[in-house]
Structures are given as C-alpha cells and as structure tokens.
Symmetry: C2
Subunit: 271 residues, 2 copies
C-alpha cells in the first residue's frame, strides 16, 4: 500500500504514517498540495496530513486542499512532539551558530531559541530535510530541530531534547482518502464544514441542535469568506456515542445551513 506523506523519512509525518499503517510504502511529497494530488490521482491509496497543532491551531489551508481535491478524512492520530536539537557529533551548544527547522518547529521551541544568543534561525520545508542536509554536507556549527528518530536515522548527535515550550505538544494528523470508508459502529467523530448567514444566533441554533442530539463539539473555527462578507463558513468537529445520533442531527441541521459538507466520519483518537 502506498501512503503519501509531507516530508522525508524521519519527518513527523513519517512517524505518524508508520504508527497508522504497519506496512506501507511512503510516497514522500515536498508540499501538502503534492500530497493531496498524489491521493487524488490514485498514485497513493491514502495520505497522512497534519491538520492542526496544540500550539499553532488549525492548518487552515489544508482544509482547503481537502475540499479542492475532494478528499475525505477516514482516521485521525495525535502524535506527541518531542523536539530535539541535533548536530554533527562532537559539538556542544556553544558551537552552534545556526539552527534550521520547519517554521512550526522553530515557533514551538521559541523560549529555548531565545536563550541562544547570536544564533541565526533558518526555516526549512521539513524537519528531517534539515537533518539530512547537515549530515550530507557535514555542516559544522549548524544544528537542526527534529525528532530523535531523525537523529538516529541520519546519524546526528542530540545536543538537547524536549526543547519545545509546552510539555505536551501534539500534532493532529488525519488519514485522507479519495473515497469514504464504509461507516462502522466504531465511528464516533465527524468533521463538518458548513456555511450560515450572518444573522445573530444562526450558529447558536445549530450548536443547540447538536447538543440536543447528543453531539459533543470538540473543535470549531470560523473561516472568513472575504468576497462574501455576509456569509460565514465554519469547520466543526463533533463527537457522538452512536452513529444514529449523528445521522439524526445531520438530517435536521441542513435546514439551518446554506451549504453543508461532511468532510469525514471516523473513529476519534486519543493523545
């Protein structure tokens, strides 16, 4: 089975995909759009895509990609992120003049990096790509922030570990496929996208309906539609005990929304 990931071996996407699919060939993609295209064209049977993070919030453009390529969410996975600082062996923190990593990883290690004086920060496409480049070019004085797996895979030495600001920093990954999986009795979570008119109370009516039907809200985000200033689009995750509760709610909610789209029905994961 071929699974598209963003980044290369040793990336956090690779870790998430390995946990989700025991035997799979990874299709390494440079960008999230290439990942979506790979699944859309059937070059990969599934994709594993980061969709949000406990610090930076949702990766909103990825919701847009799922809609653009009409992909559905069939599973989710929370990966605890433990960032390590790594470099060519034999160096200490004092030798490091430059730190390379993905912008999200640099952001998550901000207090640690603020304490390093006179250190240049360089953004890269992928955490593991920085590690590989340092090894290949034997770059001294340059460190990367990535997972401990990337350090062992590319044979760099870990100088500092667990350097992220929040002790519990998790990234939420979703499995995306071209067609829905048949719903099972295990399905207890759904991701929805809907549009309401900009009138006081239209969202609260929808959320009350969900509450009445026993649906628990686990995420909500309004998405501005600048070219249509009186419309609002929302991405919402709901959890439920029985699939029938969800189906009942969906039947009624459609009359309260202008557009209503189920982005996926799947089994909720825990951290």
């Amino acid at each position: 089975m071929k699974v598209a990931i963003q980044g290369i071996a040793g990336s956090y996407h690779h870790q998430a995909a390995t946990a989700l699919f025991e035997e799979a060939t990874m299709v390494e993609c440079d960008t999230f759009e290439q990942l979506a295209q790979s699944v859309d064209r059937g070059e990969s049977q599934a994709g594993v895509m980061a969709i949000g993070n406990s610090i930076a919030g949702s990766i909103l453009p990825n919701y847009g990609l799922l809609q653009q390529y009409q992909l559905v969410i069939t599973a989710e996975y929370f990966l605890p992120i433990n960032h390590c600082l790594m470099a060519i062996a034999g160096q200490t923190l004092k030798d490091i003049e430059e730190v390379q990593s993905h912008p999200m990883a640099l952001l998550q290690c901000k207090p640690f990096l603020n304490d390093l004086e006179n250190t240049k920060l360089v953004e890269t496409d992928d955490t593991a790509a920085a590690v590989m480049r340092i090894k290949r070019n034997h770059l001294k004085g340059v460190a990367a922030i990535a997972s401990s797996i990337a350090a062992s895979l590319y044979d760099l030495e870990i100088i500092a570990q667990d350097i992220q600001e929040e002790k519990l920093n998790a990234t939420r990954f979703v499995v995306v496929e071209k067609a829905s999986q048949p719903e099972t009795e295990n399905s207890n979570k759904a991701t929805l996208n809907f549009t309401t008119t900009h009138e006081a109370g239209s969202l609260s009516r929808i959320l009350s309906l969900f509450a009445r039907k026993g649906l628990n809200l686990s995420k909500i985000q309004s998405i501005p539609i600048p070219e249509q200033p009186f419309l609002f689009s929302f991405v919402v995750d709901v959890e439920f005990v029985e699939l029938q509760m969800f189906k009942d709610a969906v039947r009624e909610v459609k009359s309260l929304t202008k557009e209503f789209n189920i982005m996926g029905i799947y089994k909720a994961a825990t951290l």
Copy 2:
C-alpha cells in the same frame, strides 16, 4: 509617538501602521514577541500586529503573546494585500531561479509559483527584508514577493503584480497597547477569550445569550488546551450597536464561563 511593527520599512506591517498613525516613528522588530515586549516595556506607546488573514486564518500564537504580555487591542485595520514579484531591473520571469518571501506570502501566491518551473522558494522573516537584501547584494536571478511600496522604496522592478491566489486577500492588523483606551460611543466590537467546560451545549448557551443581547458573532475559534483535556478555550469577536448591549451580555456570560477575559473593546473596521 513610537509604534512597534514586525518587519522593516516597506513591510505590510509598516503600511498598516502608516495608515493607522499619521505621524509615528516606527520601531522595527524582528519577531512578534519583540514587538509585544517593546510595548510591554513602554519602549513603544503602541504596536501594530497582524492577527489573522483571510486565507490562512488566525495567527493563534499572537493571541497568546497578547495574553502573556497583558496587552489590549484598541483598534483594528484590514489591509488589502496585493503581492508583487520584483527583482533587479532588466530581468524577466524567465531569468528568475529563486523566489524569496515570508512563508505566508509564498503560500498566498501558490498557484502563481506552481507555474514557475525549476524555481527554488526561500522563506524569509519579512517580505521587505528579502527585497532589501536583493537590492543590497545586487542578486540577479532572485526575485522577492512583497508590496509595490517595497519595490519603489528599495528600487526593484516589478515583474508581475496581483499574483496572490484570492483576488481579495486581506490581512487583519490590530493596534495593541499596554492599557485600555477609555471606551467611547464609537466602540462597537470586542475580542473575548473564555473557557468553558466540555459539556454538550455549554458553548451554544453562551452564543444564544449573545444573540439574545443583540451581539453579532464575527469570529470564533476553539483553542485546544492539551494539558486540560476537558476544558475548552475560545477566542470570539462580537459586534454590537450600543456599548450597553455588550456590557449587559458580559454581566450575564460570566456565570456560564470558567474564565472570561476581554482582550479589547474598539471600533470595527471595514475592508
């Protein structure tokens, strides 16, 4: 008056600050945290900070900075973003081998950049910083994505304009200060942060209250609190016709929330 911005002269922050403050000395900051610190320490009387974008959504870490440094929002401003591709004079699109810009600008011009084959994309801290560096080092074959103002300020030639994906791409900036401005009759919008228990319907009860009191929701986003999995934090913008409506709603909403914080009361801006 000293106003802290993120980036240098010619950056979009600079443009927003110039529109908001007619006569001000800009305090150029490398990072959003330095901007917040400059205002916190009184080195600047105000800061102008990007807080969201119509494509990428909220800049969630900036809400965190406002809370960390206890800054209040006193105004908002929407800046329409028209990205231009610019380079040393005398070059055409075919000469460009590398495009530099802020990750957000690169993201916003994705379809345009996808059409350029064999072009390397390089992320920089600031759109205008890339422009300045290209000019200073007379870099041929390298283009930057930035505003037309940056092109004229640093004397680069515009090769292509309005290259962003969405015709109407706007960034929302807020003015942040150390202390609230006295509310005026003009105040008709507020940014709130509150925490609810994770029970079905607790958010819908709050939103119904807002609707009943005549408050219009213009933004909502749930923020995960990973270390406290049964609590939810929300950032909400509400608009109202009379300040008294808002004050009435606030008095009642406190009993429905665990923590409730007014991040600012100000006059709503339009695009």
